[in-house]
C-alpha cells in the first residue's frame, strides 16, 4: 500500500488516520522526505519547526 501523508502535520504514515493529530485528511501525492531523529539538536528540525522524531514529507499536495 502506498504510504500516505497527513496534510496537517506532514507525517508519513501507513494507516487511514494520522495517529498524532487524529486527522483523516491524508494525501498520497507527496514528495521529498525528511527523517528527524534528534529534534533537540537538529538544525533542520528547528528550521522547519518539528519537535517530535518521525518521518515527514517536504511537500504535500
Amino acid at each position: 500500500m502506498a504510504e500516505m501523508v497527513c496534510r496537517e502535520c506532514h507525517r508519513i504514515l501507513k494507516g487511514q488516520t494520522c495517529p498524532v493529530c487524529g486527522s483523516g485528511n491524508l494525501s498520497s501525492d507527496w514528495s521529498g522526505m525528511v527523517i528527524i531523529i534528534d529534534p533537540k539538536r537538529s538544525e533542520i528540525a528547528k528550521k522547519i519547526g518539528i519537535e517530535t522524531p518521525d518521518r515527514y514529507a517536504l511537500k504535500v499536495r
Partner: protein
C-alpha cells in the same frame, strides 16, 4: 556523549538511483540501534542519487553507511544549512507560469498538445488551459508539473 554540543554539519551520501528513501530509512534504524549522532536525514526528490545527512562529524556518517545496501560513499567536504535551505521549502510547481503563456503538455491524454494558459491556481498547483488544436475552445485543468513553458505571457 562527546558530540553533545558539537554543531551540526550536512554531509552528502551517494546512493543508488531511486533508493534514496530506503537508504534514509535504513540509516535511521542503524543510527538508533548503534546510538550514532545522526540528527536528521533529508531525501529531496530533486536530488537523485544523493541524500543529505545532518551530523556533527563525517566519521559518524562514514560508520553508519558501512552496512547499508545502496549507500555508496560519502561525498568529500560538508555543506552548511544555508546551502540546503531551498530543499526544505519547495517552490510551487506553477511558479513561472503566467496567464497568457503558451505551454506544451508533457504527460497524460493531451501529451504533446500546445495550449494557452487561462488561469493559474497556485494553491492547488493547477493551471487551466485551452488547447490550440481543439475545434471548440474547452478549458481543461491540469497539474502544473505536467507542462513545459514554450513562450511566456503573450500580449494580444
Amino acid at each position: 556523549m562527546a558530540s553533545e554540543d558539537e554543531e551540526s554539519a550536512i554531509f552528502v551520501v551517494k546512493t543508488t538511483a531511486n533508493q534514496e528513501r530506503s537508504v534514509a530509512v535504513m540509516l535511521t534504524q542503524i543510527a538508533k540501534k548503534d546510538r550514532l549522532d545522526i540528527r536528521s536525514i533529508l531525501a529531496p526528490d530533486e536530488l537523485k542519487g544523493y541524500i543529505l545527512i545532518e551530523s556533527p562529524r563525517a566519521s559518524i556518517v562514514e560508520q553508519a553507511i558501512q552496512t547499508v545496501p545502496h549507500a555508496r560513499s560519502i561525498v568529500k567536504g560538508q555543506s552548511s544549512l544555508d546551502e540546503i535551505m531551498h530543499f526544505l521549502t519547495p517552490k510551487p510547481t506553477v511558479t513561472g507560469i503566467t496567464e497568457g503563456a503558451i505551454i506544451e503538455i508533457t504527460s497524460g491524454p493531451f501529451k504533446g498538445e500546445k495550449a494557452r494558459v487561462k488561469r493559474v491556481d497556485e494553491g492547488h498547483e493547477e493551471i487551466t488551459v485551452e488547447l490550440f488544436d481543439a475545434v471548440v475552445p474547452i478549458p481543461i485543468t491540469i497539474r502544473g508539473d505536467t507542462v513545459r513553458v514554450l513562450k511566456k505571457e503573450e500580449q494580444s
